[in-house]
C-alpha cells in the first residue's frame, strides 16, 4: 500500500505541464550562471557573485516558489478534487499518508532545485565547497518549506496564496526591513546551513547563528508535521461526498 501511495503521489506531482515550468525555472538559474561565466569575470568577483546568485536567486526565490507549488498540491490537490476520500477510506494510518506525501514532495522539490543549484554553483565559480554548502542548504530548506506548506494546505483551502504571501511579504519585505524577524524566516534557516557548510566563499550568507537556525528549523518541521497529521486525522468521511 505504501508503494502505491508513493507512486500515485509521484505521478500526481510529476505528470504535469507545471513540473516542466518549474524545471525551466531551475534551468534559468543555470543559464544566468553560464551567461555570467561567459563574460569572463575575475576570480575574486565570481565567488561573490556566484554566492549571491545561489543565495538570492536559488534559495531566495526558486526554492520557495517550487516548494510552495509542490507542497500545497501534494495533499491540497486531492482535497480539492475530492480524491482524498479514496485514500482515507483505505485501512492505512493517516499519519502514513501525511508522511509519504511529505517525503515525496520533499524529494520532488529537491530534484527540481538541488541539481540546478549545484550546476549553477560549479559553472559560476567552480568552488566545490560553495556549491556543496548551497546544495545541502537547498535540501534542508526544501524539507522545512515543504512541511510548512503541506501543513498549510491542510489548514486553509487557499494555501498557495497564503504561502506566496508569506514568501513575498514576510521573507522578502518584512525580514529585509526588521532584523528581529529573521529567526523565523525559513530562508534565513537555509542560508545559515549554507554559511556553515559552504566554506570561506559562503561567508556572510546568513544573518543568523547556525545553532539558532538548526533549533528553530527543527521545531518548525516537527510542529508542521504534527499539525498536518492532526488535521488529516480529523478529516471526517461523510456518507456522501459534498
Amino acid at each position: 500500500m505504501t508503494s502505491a501511495l508513493v507512486s500515485i503521489t509521484l505521478r500526481a506531482l510529476l505528470n504535469r505541464r507545471r513540473t516542466l515550468g518549474l524545471a525551466l525555472l531551475g534551468a534559468l538559474l543555470v543559464v544566468v550562471a553560464i551567461i555570467y561565466r561567459l563574460s569572463d569575470p575575475p576570480d575574486a568577483q565570481s565567488l561573490d557573485v556566484t554566492r549571491r546568485l545561489l543565495a538570492d536567486f536559488g534559495i531566495g526565490v526558486l526554492l520557495p516558489l517550487v516548494a510552495v507549488i509542490v507542497g500545497t498540491s501534494a495533499i491540497g490537490a486531492e482535497l480539492e478534487d475530492g480524491t482524498i476520500v479514496y485514500l482515507l477510506a483505505r485501512p492505512v494510518p493517516r499519519r502514513l499518508i501525511v508522511l509519504v506525501k511529505l517525503a515525496i514532495s520533499w524529494l520532488v522539490t529537491c530534484l527540481l532545485i538541488t541539481p540546478a543549484i549545484v550546476i549553477a554553483g560549479l559553472i559560476g565559480n567552480g568552488d566545490v565547497e560553495l556549491a556543496a554548502g548551497y546544495a545541502v542548504a537547498s535540501v534542508v530548506g526544501a524539507l522545512e518549506y515543504t512541511t510548512v506548506f503541506v501543513a498549510l494546505s491542510l489548514v486553509t483551502s487557499r494555501a498557495l496564496i497564503v504561502g506566496l504571501a508569506y514568501v513575498v511579504v514576510w521573507e522578502g519585505f518584512v525580514s529585509a526591513l526588521f532584523a528581529g524577524t529573521r529567526p523565523i524566516s525559513i530562508r534565513q534557516h537555509a542560508l545559515a546551513w549554507a554559511e556553515a557548510l559552504g566554506g570561506p566563499g559562503a561567508a556572510g550568507s546568513a544573518d543568523l547563528e547556525f545553532m539558532t537556525a538548526v533549533v528553530i528549523g527543527a521545531v518548525v518541521v516537527v510542529a508542521a508535521v504534527l499539525v498536518a497529521i492532526r488535521r488529516l486525522e480529523t478529516v471526517e468521511l461523510r456518507g456522501e461526498t459534498a
Partner: protein
C-alpha cells in the same frame, strides 16, 4: 392579459413571460458595466474582508511614504527630502507586483475557468471590448498605487508652503511627469498582469506566475547590475519595473539612485522601445488568447 408591446418578440411559442421594456444600453452600457464590476473586484468591494486585505493593504502602504514626506515637510521645513516625484514609484516598487499578482487574476481567471464568457459575448459586446474593458479597469485600479500617492505628495508640497500660489507655480512643472509616469506604469503593468493571468488555469497559479516574473527579474537584475560591464548594461531589461523606470527617466528625467538603470550604459530611448514592446507583446497575448478561446 396585455399583449406584448413588441409583437415580433415572441416568435414561435409565446409562453407568457413578460418582456423587458426598459432602455437598452447597448455596447457602451455593456462595456461600462464590465469596467465597473472589474473595478469593484480589483479592490474587493462587495466581497469578504479577507479579499480586501491585499489590495487595500498595498494602497495604504503605497500612500504612506507620501504622508510621511508631507508630515516631515510641515514639521521640519524644506531641509529634508524624504522622497521625490521621480523616485516615488521605484521606492514603492515591490508593492506594485503584489497588488498586480493578487488582483489581475481576480478579473480574468474565473471567467475562463467557469466558462461564463459566452454570457458576456452574447451581449452587444465583442471579445476585444471585453479585453479592453478589463484592461481599462485594471489600469484605473493600478492608478491608485502609481498616481494617487504621487498626486498626494504634490498637493501636500503645494499646500504646506507659506506662499501657496508661488509653490503651485514652482511645482506645477512636474505635474505632466507625475501623471504621464503614473499612467504609463499603470497601463503597462496591467497589460502584463492580465496577459499572464489569462493563460493560467487557476487564480493561485496566475498569481504565482506574475510574482515569479517580477521576483526573478528583480533578483537577476540586481545581481547583474553589480557585476559591471556588458552584463550591467543588460541588467535593467530583466525586470519590467526597471524597464519602466528607464522609460520614465527618458521621458521625464531624474534618476532613481538604486535602480540598475543608473549603472547601465544603454541609451535611454531603448527603454521606451522596450516598454512599448512589453505593452505590444502583452496585448498580442491577450488578443490571441481571447480570439481563440472556445468559450
Amino acid at each position: 392579459m396585455t399583449a406584448p408591446p413588441d409583437a415580433a418578440s415572441g416568435t414561435i411559442y409565446d409562453i407568457g413571460y413578460r418582456h423587458y421594456t426598459g432602455p437598452r444600453l447597448g455596447r457602451r452600457g455593456a462595456i461600462t458595466a464590465v469596467i465597473g464590476s472589474a473595478l469593484r473586484a480589483a479592490f474587493g468591494l462587495g466581497r469578504s474582508g479577507r479579499s480586501k486585505i491585499i489590495p487595500w493593504g498595498a494602497v495604504i502602504l503605497a500612500v504612506l511614504p507620501a504622508f510621511v514626506a508631507i508630515a516631515v515637510r510641515v514639521l521640519a521645513g524644506e531641509i529634508l527630502e524624504v522622497t521625490t516625484y521621480e523616485t516615488y514609484l521605484w521606492d514603492i516598487g515591490s508593492l506594485l507586483p503584489i497588488f498586480l499578482a493578487a488582483q489581475a487574476p481576480e478579473l480574468v481567471v474565473n471567467d475562463i475557468r467557469h466558462h461564463v464568457l459566452p454570457l458576456y459575448f452574447s451581449r452587444p459586446m465583442s471579445r476585444l471590448d471585453y479585453v479592453g474593458a478589463k484592461l481599462a479597469a485594471l489600469s484605473l485600479a493600478m492608478l491608485a498605487l502609481t498616481l494617487a500617492p504621487v498626486l498626494l505628495l504634490f498637493a501636500g508640497k503645494v499646500l504646506a508652503a507659506q506662499d501657496v500660489v508661488g509653490a503651485l507655480g514652482d511645482e506645477i512643472g512636474s505635474l505632466p511627469g507625475i501623471v504621464g509616469n503614473g499612467v504609463m506604469h499603470a497601463v503597462v503593468l496591467a497589460a502584463i498582469g492580465l496577459a499572464i493571468s489569462c493563460l493560467a488555469g487557476r487564480r493561485a497559479y496566475a498569481a504565482g506566475a506574475v510574482l515569479a516574473l517580477f521576483l526573478i527579474g528583480g533578483v537577476i537584475g540586481a545581481i547583474l547590475s553589480e557585476v559591471g560591464g556588458t552584463l550591467a548594461d543588460i541588467a535593467p531589461f530583466t525586470n519590467p519595473l526597471t524597464i519602466l523606470d528607464g522609460a520614465r527617466e527618458w521621458l521625464f528625467g531624474g534618476s532613481a539612485p538604486e535602480s540598475p538603470v543608473g549603472v547601465s550604459n544603454v541609451p535611454l530611448p531603448i527603454y521606451g522601445l522596450a516598454t512599448l514592446l512589453m505593452l505590444a507583446l502583452s496585448s498580442a497575448i491577450l488578443f490571441v488568447r481571447y480570439r481563440r478561446i472556445t468559450a
